[in-house]
């Protein structure tokens, strides 16, 4: 009766909502706790490093619920062979899959250090860097329905699956250095000849050329073992394995113990597909904690639920109905947490290993002149752009290509286009412009017709709308008159070289694994330029032949290239490798100048009042689910 009365009252009260709506302020509060961080990247503009939260000793048990904004957005239906969504990697790496090598699931540079996971250690290459031999750790078993020890053949099977385009591998280009890889990719072989398994505990990779980051490449989820008895049910069906992923880690899809490992396999109930609304992970009964030093596994089960309302996600996190989120806090939420002492410890910003930048097309006037590109770097008010993103919490000002954390905090102070308070410098910019062929009168402003109506492609997010006036005004100070076209989903346009886009406002790039190669090879390799889906937006290193192939026109001759630098750096190891990448970063910033980098975004996470321990996983750029705990 009381409930009926309440509902009746509710119906009447809806009418009066407007009158009641004023004076919003939450009554809910959170308990305390301590937030720590592992060191920022640049003291002047950065307020954060990568963080963790602790509120007492972690306890075992509980269901950890995560609100996932709008839809899962998987690129391959959660099938690890092709899945390229970073949030999916967070689940694989922390909870479900054990690749040969892995990470400590920690924040900061330590979280990017490689450790043995399924393998006993990350091996040192032999044969002049051409051979990698991994020893499989004993005691690692597949979860149900396979229930047997993981062997080297399961890793080889996963690699062969990755090599075969029919199985949907989306980043197999990282493994073309393995001997025989291309033969499988081209359909001339079914297994990669450069992978051998002399026994169940050993797997050997033979490379065609040295790749100093090969161990890092073997940390990617697609390389994790797949049992052939299950995998064969999904050959030639990219994505379908996503609903039957067999666990080699501490957690498995709910319902894995209710299906049998025979074709055709029924989907496990724990995941209802990329169009669905839940992923539920429970403990893998075959997991042996003694084989795993870095995953703590306090939680009994994880529940990832899709929620179409971002505001509701954060309201539920604050109310304790969710513990965590896969979403982007709005400026309102950030402000609320930043200014409420009881909430503040539960907002944890973390360095995201990502760079936001403006890309200038080296083939299109006036950006075919390096002085114009440098002038734009000097004139852009990066502090204003940072403010457009919400200030220092959402990100620190970027001063070069690769975030310093990927150089183990190298180049943290490097800023070749430094201006007072990072607000732009008209004097320096105009001095640079005077050297340009587009300023024949040496006025400090671009006076040529090429600078009138410079096509600029932007996206339609709210932040883009804030950024565009800043860019237009800044560019005008050096005579560049931008014509901005805002497109919902601008990437499609700027990834098509034949559209000859001079300037793009949208680009952002994050690492795949903790090596600068994942920036340089994909963003500046002239040989990798393709007709659609191209990521070298500036067309660095494009040749006339390549331009003809992809339909690009403009100033094609004499476009600078860094292809030899990329090849040289990628063969190096350890500190030599890092230094090599740092030098390439400098060369790009000072000689090639394809970008105006302006922000190294942070990943800001809000956690619920029941969470007692949380830390960031630098590799996955998300929560270290294997370390979280709750009351």
């Amino acid at each position: 009766m009381k409930k009926v009365l309440r509902l009746a009252l509710l119906g009447a009260a809806v009418i009066a909502i407007a009158a009641l709506a004023s004076g919003c302020g939450s009554k809910k509060s959170s308990s305390g706790g301590t937030t720590t961080n592992s060191g920022g990247t640049k003291s002047a503009n950065s307020v954060v490093g990568s963080g963790s939260f602790s509120n007492g000793s972690p306890a075992k048990g509980g269901t950890y619920t995560i609100g996932w904004e709008n839809s899962f957005g998987f690129t391959n239906n959660f099938d690890p062979t092709g899945e390229y969504l970073g949030n999916a990697w967070g689940l694989y790496s922390n909870l479900m899959l054990r690749s040969l090598v892995g990470y400590k699931h920690q924040p900061g540079a330590a979280g990017n250090e490689l450790v043995g996971d399924l393998a006993t250690e990350a091996p040192t290459p032999t044969d002049n860097g051409l051979t990698y031999t991994y020893k499989i750790r004993s005691g690692v078993k597949f979860g149900p329905p396979v229930n047997r020890a993981v062997t080297s053949k399961d890793v080889a099977y996963a690699m062969n699956r990755l090599a075969n385009p029919k199985d949907g591998g989306q980043y197999s280009f990282y493994y073309t250095v393995i001997k025989g890889w291309d033969a499988v990719a081209n359909g001339k072989a079914t297994t990669v000849s450069g992978i051998s398994t002399p026994d169940n505990n050993t797997i050997v990779f033979h490379l065609t050329k040295a790749a100093g980051d090969f161990n890092l490449r073997m940390s990617m989820p697609a390389t994790a073992p797949i049992p052939e008895e299950v995998g064969k049910c999904f050959e030639g069906k990219p994505g379908d394995y996503g609903r039957d992923v067999v666990s080699s880690g501490p957690y498995m899809l709910q319902g894995a113990d209710k299906v049998t490992a025979s074709c055709p396999m029924k989907p496990m109930s724990g995941y209802d597909g990329a169009n669905g609304n839940h992923i539920i992970l429970v403990r893998n009964p075959n997991y042996d904690q003694s084989t795993d030093q870095y995953r703590k596994n306090y939680i009994d089960s994880f529940k990832f639920v899709v929620n179409s309302n971002a505001d509701d996600i954060f309201a539920k996190v604050q109310a304790g109905q969710y513990d965590d989120e896969v979403s982007t806090p709005t400026p309102k939420t950030i402000r609320q947490y930043a200014t409420t002492p009881s909430l503040k410890p539960r907002m944890i910003p973390n360095v995201g290993d990502r760079t936001n930048y403006l890309s200038m097309n080296l083939t299109q006037p006036p950006f075919d002149d390096v002085h114009v590109r440098k002038a734009l770097n000097f004139i852009v008010d990066k502090a204003a752009l940072q403010k457009a993103w919400g200030g220092p919490i959402p990100g620190s000002i970027a001063t070069h290509i690769v975030p310093p954390v990927l150089y183990n905090n190298g180049l943290a102070e490097y800023d070749p286009y430094a201006t007072p308070n990072e607000a732009g410098d008209v004097g320096k910019a105009q001095a640079e412009m005077k050297q340009s062929k587009y300023d024949p009168g040496k006025t400090g402003k671009c006076t040529a017709s090429a600078c009138k109506g410079v096509l600029t492609i932007a996206d339609t997010r709210s932040v883009d709308k804030t950024m565009i006036p800043i860019l237009v005004e800044d560019a005008a100070k050096i005579g560049l008159k931008l014509t901005v076209r805002s497109i919902n989903g601008a990437y499609t346009t700027i990834q098509t070289p034949s559209k000859n886009i001079p300037l793009a406002e949208r680009p952002s790039w994050g690492k795949d694994y903790a090596d600068p190669y994942t920036f340089f090879a994909e963003l500046f390799d002239g040989g990798a330029i393709i007709k659609s889906g191209n990521t070298n937006y500036s067309l660095v290193g494009i040749t006339p032949a390549k331009a003809k192939e992809v339909g690009a026109t403009g100033s094609i001759d004499n476009v600078p290239t860094v292809d030899p630098d990329i090849a040289a750096c990628s063969a190096k190891l350890a500190s030599q490798r890092t230094t090599c990448w740092e030098n390439l970063d400098k060369k790009l910033m000072e000689q090639v100048v394809p970008w105006v980098p302006y922000l190294w975004p942070n990943n800001v996470f809000i956690i619920g009042p029941n969470v007692t321990h949380w830390n960031y996983d630098q590799f996955t750029d998300g929560p270290a689910y294997s370390s979280v705990s709750k009351k």
Partner: protein, 321 residues
């Protein structure tokens, strides 16, 4: 009447075919990009892209894809009849997704429609009968508020007050009535109310205007002169004649909401057909978009048919041959 219904059903098929055809063409003519790129990773080579296009059937001309879709629809596919195919994103059956999401939307619409019809018509009648009274002005004030308030704002505010602050309702999400009837009502009461508020306002204004017009007719004066009670005059003679346009609007509103309650579904995290349609359109998941468009257009067409049939029962002047 039977012949009329058969003829209308035939036209319904034509309308649905046209809608599907237009949706198909729009997807191909708008510069939305290549759906294959979504499944190709960061730096796909042409071979990989070609394989994905082939797998998704995107390497065929649009008219062939349309032909195949139509053929499967009538003959069925591996998921049975009607064949709606599988989604690009997950390879799941479109039909299964539509069937899973449709009850959420239908229950949302049904509950809200009940509320808006009852409150909207009641307020409209009250307002017309008590014209220029305080009740009339209050009712029209309510209508103005309902019409002018954005649904998303109303939704967020109602959540803030009744879930976050007062804790009277269960907040967002959906619980099946088969799993928990009370949980279902507790989750749906706010979306029902918010959605109903907007429509009730329209219905109140419409009922008031129609009834006022009808009450000025000669036959109403005649009815009163015959000595009928005012209640009988209003409800039997006045309201019945005023209902025709309301029934028309009601049928269309119900049908349009099958794919159109996007904001309510999103704010309250109901994840029905509208939300799924928007998401799949953003992800260029053409088969799922087509599946939902198909369901929504069938709903509109059938609702039109039902409304036309209802005319015959409400208005004695209408007879179908």
């Amino acid at each position: 009447m039977t012949f009329y219904i058969a003829r209308r059903l035939l036209w319904t098929l034509v309308v649905v075919a046209c809608v599907i055809g237009i949706t198909f063409v729009v997807f191909y003519l708008l510069p939305a990009g290549d759906p294959a790129l979504r499944f190709a990773g960061k730096n796909p080579n042409p071979t990989e892209l070609a394989l994905i296009r082939h797998r998704l059937g995107l390497d065929q001309p649009w008219y062939e894809q349309f032909g195949r879709f139509t053929w499967r629809f009538f003959t069925g596919d591996k998921y049975g009849w009607p064949g709606l195919g599988y989604t690009y994103a997950s390879g799941s059956s479109v039909k299964a997704i539509v069937l899973a999401r449709a009850p959420r939307t239908l229950l949302l619409i049904a509950g809200a429609a009940f509320l808006w019809l009852v409150t909207g018509v009641a307020i409209g009648v009250l307002s017309a009968v008590k014209r220029r009274s305080l009740a009339d002005r209050a009712a029209m004030g309510f209508a103005l508020f309902g019409i002018s308030t954005p649904v998303f704002w109303l939704g967020l505010m109602s959540l803030y007050i009744f879930w976050s602050q007062l804790g009277w309702t269960a907040g967002t999400g959906y619980v099946s009535p088969l799993d928990s009837p009370t949980g279902f009502i507790s989750h749906m009461i706010l979306p029902w109310s918010v959605l109903a508020l907007l429509y009730a306002a329209f219905y109140a204004r419409m009922t008031r205007n129609n009834l006022l017009e009808t009450l000025g007719e000669d036959y109403i004066r005649t009815a009163r002169a015959k000595g009928l009670s005012e209640r009988r005059v209003i409800f039997k003679h006045g309201l019945r004649a005023s209902l025709t346009p309301i029934v028309t609007m009601f049928g269309l509103d119900m049908a349009l909401l099958v794919g159109g309650a996007v904001i309510t579904e999103s704010v309250f995290n109901i994840q029905g057909l509208g939300y799924t349609a928007i998401n799949s359109a953003l992800q260029q998941d053409l088969p799922l978009v087509l599946g939902i468009v198909l369901v929504a257009s069938v709903a509109v067409a059938i609702a039109n048919l039902v409304v036309d049939i209802l005319y015959a029962f409400i208005d004695p002047r209408v007879r179908y041959a």
